[in-house]
């Protein structure tokens, strides 16, 4: 039974292989196609408010490059510039959420590129832990973004902002479900 099945498949593969001459895995059509998931933007007028904490040397400069390259991106992000991702205290994120940010972005130099040699490594470890804590206490991880953007990645910065803005717009206002949100005095 197995052998029959095997033989059948074997023949079809042989045929496929011969058709494409040098068996090219992708073209035999046997590889599972990865489907790209499309995020549909809601037509609502909701404009998300996104606070970005970026380092001076890579991501801020990357954003400058997006500017000098005239790359267009969504106007929803407000940048807070720090010298290094190492300077970004978890309190900053809490404060931004407390103030009603719909999402927060933290971005700095790629590993190995830190202007201060290792500030971003410190930051990476800090966020690895802190994001678990945020997640566990009810902050939706679709509201917190981390990215490495170098001074040369103007296009990546523009794409990142567009992607985040679209994602957050799709997710809707954070107001209702944000556990860190200040509510008493507003």
């Amino acid at each position: 039974m197995l052998k029959q099945q095997f033989a059948r498949r074997f023949l079809s593969i042989c045929a496929a292989g011969l058709r494409t001459r040098r068996a090219d895995w992708d073209r035999t059509g046997l590889m599972a196609e990865t489907e790209t998931k499309k995020v549909e933007a809601t037509p609502a007028v909701f404009e998300p408010k996104i606070v970005a904490f970026v380092c001076n040397w890579c991501t801020y400069a990357g954003a400058d490059l997006a500017g000098t390259s005239r790359l267009q991106y969504a106007p929803n992000v407000r940048i807070v510039k720090l010298p290094c991702t190492g300077r970004i205290d978890p309190l900053f994120i809490l404060k931004a959420f407390e103030g009603g940010a719909d999402a927060v972005l933290v971005s700095g130099c790629h590993p190995g590129d830190c202007h201060y040699t290792s500030g971003n490594y410190h930051a990476r470890r800090r966020w690895a832990i802190f994001r678990r804590l945020l997640e566990f206490t009810g902050i939706d991880m679709r509201r917190v973004f981390f990215s490495w953007v170098s001074a040369a990645e103007g296009a990546k910065f523009a794409d990142l902002i567009n992607r985040i803005t679209a994602d957050v717009r799709a997710a809707g206002p954070f107001e209702r479900t944000n556990p860190a949100r200040r509510r008493l005095w507003k």
Binding site: P75, R78, V80, G86, R87, F92
Partner: protein, 658 residues
């Protein structure tokens, strides 16, 4: 009360086209604390700067926000203007309305709205800015050069000729480095020792240079302008102040069969030795590993021979602490050990040699007096195969990089061989010929055309040693597309250039970065090629990357000019963006000390008047702190803050964005 002035720039049309500058100005004027808001076509122009200066004086501004281009562009310009008007430059901030707004958004309403936000945030920040003053650090105008090869020699001479004191530290008994071992140099074929030894003598006799041969850096403390370097002067067992370098001692030494490092193991030396006849200093040391007196307590032949009584078997290492203001690292390179190449014999065959061994064979002062004789039986080889890229450009061997100098020295080797053995064959297996440099391509062409070197493009897959002693070299000629076998008498491998052993430890001591191959990292690959991430530490020569002599010398001179530039003022001025500890609330958990990438945070003991320790805290060393702020975010009690990016400033920015 804060009195903030807001100055908005149209940048011609660049900002004005998408941002309604008048509207932003109107909004800014209403922001709390803003007493003055104007817009202008070109704020960075002379009249624009005049507007700012005038307003600072007339409106008694306590803070300024300029909404214009990126601060990376014009922050220094505007801060200088503010300073000229008497306002502390750190009380000026910029909103990036061009790169971060007008150039990247099309919707005028939304861009204007964002621009207002960007200005508002900076207005709130600047209200919390404090006056900062550049940090001044005194400079000790003495330089240390580590490594006495050609790069170190050049750097030391340039600094010394510039009128500053230099300490030259060399770990072997003589300066001269690898260059002293070379026979001739490409592309001119002038004799290496003839051009080098006068420089070595100059070092020895220069009034501004203190030569510390047979010494190594032991530890480093301090920072730019104020390094405290501890140098280990290794025991020489010879009192150099008495020694005349006459040579009676080594003539009498009974241990004569030690492979000479200088001759790449092809020659022999005694246990009391100077590395080579032109050594500087021209004085011997005793190799304690091989000396019978030092290992077994019997002999004393050299002491008996020495008429000056300079031999001292009880000599010991000595640690010397030296204060220097700048350091040039010129530790050079080693050749990679090709025994990892099993297919080339794995280091088993005497007649498969490296480039330095060939240099010594070709050198008039070498073990064969300049005759090319192969190590195994001393015969003159009739066919020599040279294999380039041995280790280099070979990821499997962990060295992806090009060693840069091998193409040239292999061409030189082939040429030297053909000059000495006219009938002989020189076959060179290469991957590419990289002869970029003045006169280099011509040199290679000469080797091929005038001297008949046979260049074969391809790799060697295997070397056998036949019973008759021939080395059978099997390779591929990829241009002809066929396998190729050469029966050779001698094979010379162009081994990869690797950093000196121990260079990583030295880098760690000085806080200098190094790449995965161990080469020292420059501060910027293009614009700061001789600086390092450690302020006041500069690079020269092959410790940074493989380099030939002209490149090493150029970089050494560049490093020297950096040192002289640093020493041109008695004090160093630094941007005051540094961390500060609140010693009242610090509990000395030491997390910041562990985290600081620069080792800039130190333990500090607060004492009462009687000298009793009341409290231990962390303290920032202003000379070392680079202002990243990593410590600030790590401090649980927020007992550290970063000037220029204080908690208050960042807090006000975030809160303003609500």
């Amino acid at each position: 009360m804060a009195r903030v002035g807001v100055f908005l720039c149209h940048c011609g049309e660049n900002i004005g086209r998408t941002v309604d500058c008048a509207a932003v100005t109107a909004a800014a004027a209403k922001m709390p604390g803003v007493v003055h808001a104007v817009d202008y076509k070109y704020m960075c122009s002379d009249p624009g700067q005049q507007m700012i200066k005038q307003a600072i004086v007339e409106k008694k501004l306590t803070g300024v926000v300029v909404g214009a281009c990126s601060p990376r562009m014009h922050e220094p310009t505007f801060r200088r203007a503010a300073a000229e008007a008497g306002l502390n430059p750190f009380l000026l901030e910029m909103s990036n309305l061009r790169e971060h707004c007008s150039w990247v958004h099309e919707d005028r309403a939304k861009a204007t709205e964002k621009a207002v936000d960007l200005v508002r945030v900076m207005v709130e920040k600047v209200k919390h800015n404090r006056k900062l003053h550049s940090i001044r650090v005194p400079i000790e105008p003495t330089a240390m050069v580590v490594g006495g090869g050609i790069a170190g020699i050049q750097a030391a001479l340039d600094i010394a000729n510039g009128g500053k004191k230099v300490i030259l530290v060399e770990k072997s008994p003589s300066i001269g480095g690898h260059m002293a071992r070379l026979s001739e140099t490409f592309p001119t074929l002038d004799c290496s020792q003839c051009i080098l030894t006068p420089r070595m003598v100059e070092v020895a006799s220069h009034p501004n240079i203190t030569l510390m041969a047979y010494s190594e850096v032991e530890s480093v403390e301090g920072f730019v302008g104020n390094f405290d370097v501890t140098v280990r002067k290794k025991a020489r067992y010879v009192d150099w102040s008495k020694c005349t370098g006459c040579g009676d001692c080594w003539a009498k030494c009974p241990v004569k069969k030690i492979p000479s490092e200088f001759d790449a193991g092809l020659g022999k030396r005694t246990a009391i030795y100077r590395p080579f006849p032109q050594a500087v200093p021209n004085k011997p040391v005793i190799d304690q590993e091989h000396c019978i007196m030092l290992t077994k307590g019997k002999c004393g032949a050299c002491a008996k021979a020495c008429q000056r009584g300079a031999i001292n078997y009880k000599d010991q290492d000595e640690l010397v602490k030296i204060k220097v203001g700048a350091v040039v690292l010129a530790t050079g390179f080693d050749l990679w050990d090709h025994s990892a190449y099993g297919e080339y014999g794995g280091g088993r065959w005497a007649d498969v040699i490296d480039g330095f061994q060939f240099e010594r064979l070709a050198s008039a002062s070498g073990p064969t007096d300049g005759e090319i004789r192969r190590p195994s039986d001393g015969r003159i080889p009739q066919t020599v195969v040279f294999i380039q890229c041995c280790g280099s450009r070979d990821d499997k061997m962990g060295k992806a990089y090009c060693s840069k100098i091998c193409c040239m020295y292999t061409a030189k080797h082939a040429m030297l061989y053909k000059h000495k053995v006219h009938e002989g064959r020189a076959v060179i297996f290469y991957m590419d010929i990289r002869a970029g440099g003045k006169g280099y391509e011509e040199f290679v062409r000469r080797a091929i055309e005038a001297d008949g070197a046979e260049y074969v493009r391809g790799r060697v897959s295997r070397i056998y040693r036949r019973a008759d002693g021939k080395l059978i070299v099997k390779g591929a000629d990829t241009l002809a597309g066929r396998p190729m076998t050469v029966e050779a008498d001698l094979v010379v491998l162009a081994d990869a250039i690797v950093p000196r052993t121990g260079s990583e430890r030295l880098a760690q001591m000085f806080g200098v970065g190094y790449d995965t191959d161990g080469f020292y990292s420059e501060a910027h690959p293009k614009l700061r090629p001789v600086e390092t991430s450690a302020a006041g530490v500069f690079l020269a020569g092959a410790c940074q990357a493989p380099k030939d002599i002209p490149d090493a010398v150029s970089q050494a001179s560049a490093a020297a000019s950096k040192v002289l530039g640093l020493f041109s003022k008695p004090e160093l001025e630094r941007e005051p963006i540094i961390a500060r500890v609140n010693e009242n609330t610090c509990v000395h958990c030491r997390a910041c000390i562990a985290a600081c990438p620069y080792g800039a945070i130190e333990d500090f003991e607060i004492k009462d008047r009687k000298g009793n320790v009341v409290k231990r805290v962390a303290r920032v060393n202003e000379g070392l702190c680079q202002g990243c702020g990593t410590c600030v975010a790590i401090c649980r009690s927020n007992s550290i803050d970063l000037d220029g990016f204080t908690d208050e400033q960042v807090f006000s920015e975030i809160v303003t964005l609500e």
